[in-house]
Symmetry: C2
Amino acid sequence: MEKVISTAVIKRLPRYYRYLGELRKKEVVRISSKELSERMNVTASQIRQDLNNFGGFGQQGYGYNVEYLYTEIGKILGLDQEHRVVIIGAGNLGQAIANYADFARRGFDITAVFDVKPELIGKEIGNVKIRAMSELKDYVTKQKPDIAALALPKEYAVQVANDVVSWGVSAIWNFAPVELRLPKHVVVENVHLTESLMRLSYNIRAAQIKKNADTQKNGKDSECAATTE
Amino acid sequence: MEKVISTAVIKRLPRYYRYLGELRKKEVVRISSKELSERMNVTASQIRQDLNNFGGFGQQGYGYNVEYLYTEIGKILGLDQEHRVVIIGAGNLGQAIANYADFARRGFDITAVFDVKPELIGKEIGNVKIRAMSELKDYVTKQKPDIAALALPKEYAVQVANDVVSWGVSAIWNFAPVELRLPKHVVVENVHLTESLMRLSYNIRAAQIKKNADTQKNGKDSECAATTE
DNA sequence: TAGATTGTTAATCGATTAACAATC
DNA sequence: TAGATTGTTAATCGATTAACAATC
């Protein structure tokens, strides 16, 4: 129950979950690791290994019951718990998060949104009113939200992160492009959009180089180059 | 020049780049892999291995020149190229992307934004006007943007992705929670916010379980459990 | 019972870390 | 020259894949 699961496994679980959710909607009752693997572009072996980190959810000769597996993975991911989220920063990104219905559906309740800009305060987004940053300490201390989403400029993110942690928050969803240095007990999930875009850029260039090499048609040479240099 | 680089390496490059950018701003001239590793929480060996996939950027006995290494990693990531980006979907998320100044600074130019909603069309965001979706085909065909960012509901994302690819786009930055099935030559980078939030949720629960185990103070037992089950 | 498919162990593959000779 | 630190090879570690006995 306490074995440390590798991040590689944890990254795949939400994908399994999403896909099982789709099957479930289509009222598919059972699925084998082989079928699942074909549709999801992973190996059947990997799926079975991943799941068996958490227990045996299948049945020999049958496969997996879609509904059951979906529910169980949901529990593993903690989606059977309610999570109260405060969003700090009500710019476009903060508002996008606040309005994203998918989150509410998964048990993440946006309970408050904060910003410094006077013209934003009082404005209704999602189904909460934007509050002044000056109220943040009081709110966090009293309401003890589960997650703080940081959607503010990186100049303020470090300080605000330290603050909310000192006021009792132990999970941070960080959209600011900085590395937060927080106590070990605090869980941090980063969404670094600039890094994502850079990876895309890298892959664009890599594809261009590949394409050029291919069109030059020195077939054997280019294959060679691919393996040696 | 054509060796395939593992995704693990490519994920780290933007972090190195960001960090070197900070050092550069502080006018730090040189840095060793050891110093860098301490601040970035990776091993010195890994940094050297990663960099040497692309060439020798350092000097024995000295380390790395910050400015030079920053520039070279930028080139590797393709940040010396201009990238013209169209954003499809001008909801909060699309607007957040359009307004995010960091991207422009890195050579990603938002050249157009599209949406279906009549009330949004014509509105100015970033420094472009929102256009009608009906103009998308014409625009893409003529302007040949480098990247299409999909910030629209998942119901439409698959179709729009197929469309823009058929019109010549070969790089997609996908924010919709679907797996896009596109021709091999198309580069896709996904930003799946719901999955990110689920990983956070998993880690929250894992931390809770750990905490409970710790407070129960059966020190030896819990250590045992951690390794065996 | 025979066929199918899991759970799990063993083999392989790849990524990370350690070590050290090269060299600035 | 001596000290420092890289580039690179070798060792280790972990994750993925393959194989198969268990069993529904």
